[in-house]
């Protein structure tokens, strides 16, 4: 059986790319793509054939802002049970991380998904807050849980974000020249191929939705190279075994039922219009920001800075690569992370160091 890791096919794609005599720069926005790129050693092979790939803002933990981290820590200090995805606990806030807060005796728990958090709420009397991070891949699970009447003592601090507006922001800012975008396979599983189309139409950028096996990624690059060579700009789908044109309509419908778009900032970015999701009024009772408005008041108007010396923002905008940060691998390591890009298994600094670059 022809496999998605077949070495010979990889060699053929690379050979074909080489013949095209390329000098192009692409961006992907997914930690799993970065993992495939570095773990399988594709990055240097692609550079040799004239293809440079940058990781953009595709790490949910990394793009979460210092303010959101302070919000969840404050709620922990106010006695709520805090439930978060694993990587989140080690992200440094202004003074502490959730891990520090936990060792001071506050109740911070790691969950695998939102259902674990709902289960905790069902068993406890205390307030349980779930920190909802993640893009379109994760958002439907939050929506579905809120639609199935969770207990009263459950709420969500929504830090969910949408990918297409961030891609638009990158292109609009124009800080970095890009020849093509590799779109995230699992975000696209939910939203389908159409929400990307305006980027090709308005910015003339070629796009390919790609899966996560090494050959998926190489094939995605090859499809982009062909578009570039033919001076085309369209949305192509390499990941047809999972991504349908219309996406997962059931999931999108639930998302729209529960959430509405609002303007939010992303770490390293200015406010990106309509790129965040907040709970609709109908779900207000589950909205941690409404429910604990008074307790969160002390953060109002405060500015929170990035960790000193950390260049995650530039890494997330594709302007520098992780090893160009002076703290990379010396002051900043996974054991002692300065910024979230070193904490998260989807952060480019973490991935680069893990595979020994």
């Amino acid at each position: 059986m022809f496999r998605f890791r077949d070495k010979r096919t990889a060699e053929i794609i690379l050979k074909k790319l080489k013949r095209m005599d390329l000098n192009i720069r692409l961006m992907h926005v997914c930690g799993t793509h970065q993992d495939t790129l570095i773990r399988f050693g594709l990055d240097p092979l692609l550079k040799k054939v004239g293809v440079e790939i940058k990781q953009g803002p595709g790490c949910p933990v990394c793009v979460t802002t210092p303010r959101e981290i302070e919000e969840i820590m404050l709620l922990a200090k106010k006695g709520k049970i805090i439930t978060v995805f694993g990587d989140m606990v080690n992200v440094p806030g202004e003074k502490h991380s959730l891990q520090d807060i936990r060792s001071q005796g506050h109740d911070v728990r790691i969950v695998y998904g939102i259902e674990d958090a709902v289960n905790i709420a069902q068993k406890k009397k205390k307030e349980v807050v779930f920190m909802g991070i993640g893009f379109e891949t994760t958002i439907p699970s939050t929506a579905s849980s809120l639609l199935s009447s969770p207990p009263e003592n459950f709420s969500v601090l929504s830090c969910h974000r949408l990918m297409p507006p961030a891609l638009k922001a990158i292109l609009e800012m124009g800080e970095i020249h890009l020849d093509g975008l590799i779109e995230p396979g699992h975000v696209s599983t939910i939203i389908g191929t159409e929400p990307y189309r305006f980027l090709s139409d308005e910015y003339g950028i070629p796009q390919v939705i790609a899966g996560f096996e090494p050959l998926d990624l190489l094939m995605g690059v090859y499809m982009l190279a062909r578009q570039i060579e033919n001076k085309e700009a369209k949305v192509e789908n390499e990941y047809t075994r999972l991504v349908k044109k219309e996406g997962n309509e059931k999931a999108v419908k639930m998302m729209k039922e529960v959430f509405e778009e609002h303007d939010v900032s992303w770490r390293g970015f200015p406010v990106i219009p309509n790129s965040g999701l907040q709970l609709k009024k109908r779900f207000e009772e589950y909205d941690a920001r409404k429910k604990f408005e008074d307790e969160l008041l002390e953060l109002k108007g405060k500015e929170f800075k990035e960790p000193e010396g950390c260049r995650c923002g530039e890494v997330l905008r594709g302007i520098i690569s992780s090893d160009e940060c002076p703290l990379f691998g010396t002051v900043c390591t996974p054991q002692n992370p300065v910024g979230p890009c070193m904490v998260s298994s989807e952060g480019s600094c973490n991935i680069m160091l893990k595979y020994g670059k």
Partner: protein
Amino acid sequence: MCLAIPAKILKIHDQRAKVDFGGAIREVNISLVDANVGEYVVVHAGFAIQKLNEKEAQETLGLWHEILNFLEDG
């Protein structure tokens, strides 16, 4: 975090299903998909987010064959 893993549905009970991740049996939420026993789904954070079918996997390979005008001229 956007990692998603394929699993085969063994048993369905309302919105939940017992699935097999190549040997490891877990329970997942299937409210986001219309899936049946015996089908494959891709699971993310405890939720099946889409069905995966063999036919579509074959189509991907077909697409590759076409794009690469296949292998031998490499």
